[in-house]
């Protein structure tokens, strides 16, 4: 089943194409990462999918309902954390969650139960009776997530959910996303590459309003695999690196001295041959091998490569 589908979804502001011809399908219970630099069209997409912006062209369906002019039935099935969550400053966190529960038409007992559960979940129980006007940015972000979850949404939109969080809060939010994936489809926009890599099953990369690529994280890593080998030895490997320069199916062998021990990094021109023959060549060199790794590119590597090459699938 598809939780989110768009067909030619576009949004223009005059001559500026904030989003251009977005065709996307997100399966149920997937964590979909929508990745792109600032101004790429991520927030515009979230607003279009939640009905807060009107498309110039195209259509979208979320949780089985068509996104259109104020679809209340659809809004009861979704949860939204905007990029900058805002609250009524005079309300406490607990009061705000109660208010949101009432807006969803939940029973009073259910509202009380959900409020306490969610305050516990986002670790705001102690601060629950404090006015939201006094909350830090991280606390506001966590309360924003809690209010988006009160109706147990089928589809949850998180627009830059970790943007204002300290490292601890950052990790907690990502753990929360991992826990929610069992019952909820999550559409998470971010420019934080490591977040997407850590929690998302699928990733879409958007730039200048255009979807560049959409794929599973693994498939993307395979596609952009650069066949980089990293080797570490106990001895000086300079002569060994010199000898590798004569092998035609290897390229760019070099000794890298970073923060840790010096290592040899090389690229395989023919990956299958390198996999078979490189261990033999190392063995014949007489050096003591302490690390041998065929590295996969990180999402960050792929993102930078896509952005710089302008590759489009």
């Amino acid at each position: 089943m598809t939780a989110i589908r768009t067909q030619g979804l576009s949004k223009y502001y005059g001559t500026v194409k904030a989003l251009d011809n977005l065709n996307l399908e997100v399966p149920e219970n997937a964590v979909f990462g929508f990745l792109g630099p600032n101004g790429a069209g991520k927030t515009t997409t979230v607003k279009l999918l939640t009905g807060f912006a009107h498309p110039t062209a195209g259509e979208a369906w979320v949780a089985g309902g068509k996104v259109g002019e104020v679809n209340l039935a659809l809004q009861s099935k979704i949860g939204l954390l905007p990029d900058v969550p805002a609250f009524y400053d005079w309300m406490s966190g607990r009061e705000f969650l109660h208010f949101v529960g009432e807006l969803h038409g939940l029973e009073q007992n259910e509202i009380k139960k959900r409020t306490e559960e969610l305050l516990e979940l986002v670790e705001l129980k102690k601060a629950g009776n404090r006015r939201t006007g006094g909350y830090s940015r991280g606390m506001r972000q966590r309360l924003g997530i809690a209010q988006a979850l009160i109706n147990r949404p089928k589809v949850l939109f998180l627009d830059e959910p970790t943007s204002a969080l300290d490292p601890l809060g950052h990790r907690e939010v990502l753990n929360l996303v991992l826990r929610l994936r069992e019952n909820t489809t999550i559409f998470m926009s971010s420019h934080n590459l490591s977040d997407i890599e850590r929690v998302c099953d699928m990733v879409g990369i958007v730039n200048k309003g255009q979807l560049i690529t959409v794929s599973t994280v693994e498939a993307l890593q395979k596609k952009y695999a650069r066949s980089i080998f990293e080797l570490e030895f106990m001895e000086d490997a300079t002569p060994f690196v010199e000898s590798l320069k004569n092998i035609p199916w290897l390229a760019e062998p070099a000794i890298i001295t970073g923060n840790g021990a010096p290592m040899v990094r090389l690229r395989a021109v023919d990956i299958d041959r390198a996999r078979k023959e490189l261990p033999r060549i190392i063995s014949e060199s007489g050096l003591t091998l302490t690390r041998y790794e065929l590295t996969l590119p990180s999402i960050e590597d792929i993102f930078v490569e896509i952005m710089t090459s302008g590759d489009k699938q």
Partner: protein, 252 residues
């Protein structure tokens, strides 16, 4: 109107938490108190100022004068207060992002707008009731001879006019994220209709004529402005309708 009840409850709490009721009541009470007091004691204040070679003869104050003075102040300053209080009602929520937080829930735009208008109207009604009771009480105590029913009807007309001012301001508040822009435009509409209301033929259709009608009640004149009454009610409804339409059609 899905979601009206929780939104209305929240708006009522907001009137108290943000001191809107206190502010409006304070302003209205000031006029409720000062109108009869000024009228009663102005001759004595002038006597205390001493004879500066001039002799000013002030007429004996009447209850109708006191109540009309109060009505005039509320009609003018009350309209200004209405604009100041309502200009940020929606605009500030659009600007801060709380509108998105609320409207991403299953609530209609109509409920969002009408809950706000009803709550702020109640603030004005409560303030008017208290201020008018004070004004009437002081007038009876200091001047005597005040008639109850004309004053009650005057207040109802005043209240309708102020609700019109609130609705117009809220309409512009839903159009702009700047509360200043909303307030400025609302004020220009209210002032314009006030000027037009003084023009023969078209003037009788303007909501501002409700204030003249109210004064007529105090002076015993039979002149009524039912057209202005009907048009004001229709205008309030139209403001609510278009306000929620603007919220539906605009990108938030």
């Amino acid at each position: 109107m899905k979601g009206f009840a929780p939104l209305f409850k929240k708006e009522i709490r907001e009137q108290l938490k943000l001191y809107r009721l206190v502010i409006v009541l304070g302003v209205f009470l000031l006029f409720g108190l000062t109108s009869p007091l000024t009228l009663k004691y102005l001759p004595e204040i002038m006597k205390l100022a001493g004879d500066q070679g001039m002799s000013i003869q002030l007429p004996i104050p009447t209850a109708a004068q006191s109540l009309a003075s109060y009505a005039g102040d509320i009609g003018q300053i009350g309209a200004l207060v209405a604009v100041l209080i309502a200009m940020g009602c929606i605009a500030n929520e659009l600007k801060s992002g709380t509108a998105i937080m609320t409207l991403s829930k299953p609530v209609s735009r109509g409920a969002f707008v009408s809950a706000k208008l009803l709550a702020v109207s109640l603030t004005f009604l409560v303030s008017m009731v208290i201020a008018s009771l004070v004004c009437f009480g002081y007038t009876v105590w200091l001047i005597q001879g005040a008639a109850v029913w004309p004053f009650v009807r005057l207040n109802l007309l005043l209240a309708l006019f102020l609700i019109f001012c609130l609705a117009v301001t809220m309409l512009f508040s839903s159009l702009y994220k700047s509360s200043l822009a909303a307030g400025g435009l609302a004020l220009s509409v209210i002032v314009s209709q006030g000027i037009i209301s003084a023009i023969p033929i078209v003037g009788k259709y303007m909501p501002g004529k409700l204030l003249d009608w109210g004064t007529n009640l105090l002076t015993g004149s039979d002149k009524t402005y039912w057209w202005a009454f009907g048009i004001t009610i229709i205008a309030i409804g139209a403001c609510v309708y278009f306000s929620q339409r603007f919220l539906k059609n605009r990108d938030l």
